[in-house]
Symmetry: C2
Subunit: 437 residues, 2 copies
Amino acid sequence: MYLSKLFIPITKDLPAEAKIKSHQLMLRTGMIKQSSAGIYSWLPLGFKVMKKIEQIVREEQNAVGAQEMLMPTIQSSEIWKESGRYEDYGEEMLRIKDRQGREMLYGPTNEELITDIFRSSVKSYKSLPQILYHIQWKFRDEIRPRFGVMRCKEFFMKDAYSFDLSDEEAKKSYNKMFYSYLKTFNRIGLKAIPMSADTGPIGGDLSHEFIILAETGESKIYADKNIFEINLNQYEFNDTSLKKMREDFTKIYAVTDEKYKEEEFNQKVKKENQMFTKGIEVGHIFYFSDKYSKPMNCLIDDKDGKKTSVKMGSYGIGVSRLVGAIIEANYNNDVMKWPRNISPFDIVILPSISKNNRKNFEKAEKIYKELKKQNIDVLLDDVDENMSNKFKKHDLIGVPYQIIVGSKSEEDNFEFKELNSKSEILTLDKIIKKIKN
Amino acid sequence: MYLSKLFIPITKDLPAEAKIKSHQLMLRTGMIKQSSAGIYSWLPLGFKVMKKIEQIVREEQNAVGAQEMLMPTIQSSEIWKESGRYEDYGEEMLRIKDRQGREMLYGPTNEELITDIFRSSVKSYKSLPQILYHIQWKFRDEIRPRFGVMRCKEFFMKDAYSFDLSDEEAKKSYNKMFYSYLKTFNRIGLKAIPMSADTGPIGGDLSHEFIILAETGESKIYADKNIFEINLNQYEFNDTSLKKMREDFTKIYAVTDEKYKEEEFNQKVKKENQMFTKGIEVGHIFYFSDKYSKPMNCLIDDKDGKKTSVKMGSYGIGVSRLVGAIIEANYNNDVMKWPRNISPFDIVILPSISKNNRKNFEKAEKIYKELKKQNIDVLLDDVDENMSNKFKKHDLIGVPYQIIVGSKSEEDNFEFKELNSKSEILTLDKIIKKIKN
């Protein structure tokens, strides 16, 4: 893609309404555009990043045996009345009347709808366990939407639902998702800490939040830094190993300020391992047993032919929110560097362009074609602007690798730069190897 | 995937509410489940097919230089008041008030929102032409939703928007989309006829519908069958060739019954080339020049620095609707056969299972592993049920290729069947070659 052709409305002004750095960056680099309070359009640059995150989330859901489906955004109020949440949910639920006066709503979450689908589809324990998920737009009518995509009204979320015969079996599903979440955040290049959490309006008695570290995060975090030493690869995908994994993670001290007690922290964590930082919640998992299946009469025949309420959990990752959270974690000292797995482009070519000399630009086009041939997703900055401005701009766009075509490039050697590092002179072959690695 | 693990609630009863065969099939094979009138959940089987169609649409949009983005489902009423359509659109628009009393709506289409984005992002002719698209859920509050996903309330649609400096340039964008649409439908295995059409509530003076042939279609079609003789590969992706392409297609007689005149048909089309059939609209493209850009003040500086309203077109493909349309076109004589590019699985293995003899099942599992290794997406029917029922069931699920593991399979030779054809005995290598071809 040539930058001049990319629909990327970059602005130089710092948007006044944006209070946190992810919101500022996303507006400045044209990743998003607000269409009304708390509602955004995702322009090509932001869209590409979000899609890459979505795909990683999907692959790691599929890897633990979850099946993808898609529920609609608009739901009938009836099932919410069955569960009892129609009144409870409060004003954050966007309530709608259709032309025939029927009470509808824009789904803020899907426990009721998936329970409705399940109760009419599955009757026997033989079909269990099941984990179903979808990645769909949700809506919460926030009274004060803020922080860009971090706290907006219409948001993109992966939510999964597990179905088991017993509480004991259900915990196994819970552990699978626990594992899947850690794998997901690892692949995105994030350090995520699972923390036991309150269950809030979803309900239940077992819950974990996944929090990534970011200096600007909303939650204060007190933890033993040994939590980052646990190697996920040591666990196998079976019930025993995954049980041990959750125990290993949860026995290490890590709490938000709500649960923090200084005395306990000092007692449980050695001074040199104490970590105090901030974080952002990017995932939340719940086990709530028969909280929905019981009132909604979602019954399963067990081995003895006896009917029992199916045991359920739900598991959310905020996909659109993650885009903001990743920026909060990776945008420092005026430089944004995307983790390579989700960068909007693999590499950018920055030729030094002057009107009287087309040499650098022609060289850049040659490199562009070569990289394209290698299936590398490359951006060529063909805009006629001085190099100092170009560098500043690409410090914001955040593609992690650059080829600078200027005075230092000679013959088949090019100036290659990884953001936040010094540049080096490399052959194109070596650059391609680095990118593909 | 083992069939017993797949979340596929198959029903044997013919659903009473379903009047057309696509709706019947989708309910019977658990592709969809109605959640409320005209609103459906897409269960794993239906979801997979829809995602494959979406991906083909996406690739063919990208191939003509359109850029993907994503607009929200909920829009503010303000921009619709600017264009004048807020009142005009009628009751099919789902109108919403948020908790602060603001007038919002669930987008039925996106001309206004994309114009709003464009006017604040692009100022100069230098950034033109541009084609932007998104694939997003839309809502029309149908008073009588029917025919399943063919005429439902919440539907999945690709809509693209082109921006050009002049009417002449804009026609070039129109031709690119015309080409992209024909390529898209070809890849899905559909015979699509472009027909000049009325513009309806979108407006403008140039418009084509793309109609696929299906005996059960809603539109009557009168056409010269030579329209299927045009080979799309003869055209190159440049303005001159694409102009000729559109001329070649549109000079061949093809109309719906609204425009049909018997005398004209007989005069323009030789008796032996006359085709009378039925069809289903699956795409619609519009050129409407400055119909939205003028009232919404979306201005571009031309080469002389003069401001002019940008010239726009819009281009829709009903992605969820296509799933139903494809079934209407391909489900005949109680056999559904998915076009291979969008089949939910590449192949299905049907072992003859009996309780006392596990041989066939073990053989089936061996084949399954081998096909998986070859990256073939294979379904193994491990359900304990007689072969006659299995065949009937798979006549509906519609995976085009089967390996039948029963009495006719010996050593390394297996019974291979393509739906609607006779079975043959082949080695696994030959079967793999057929699938991958």
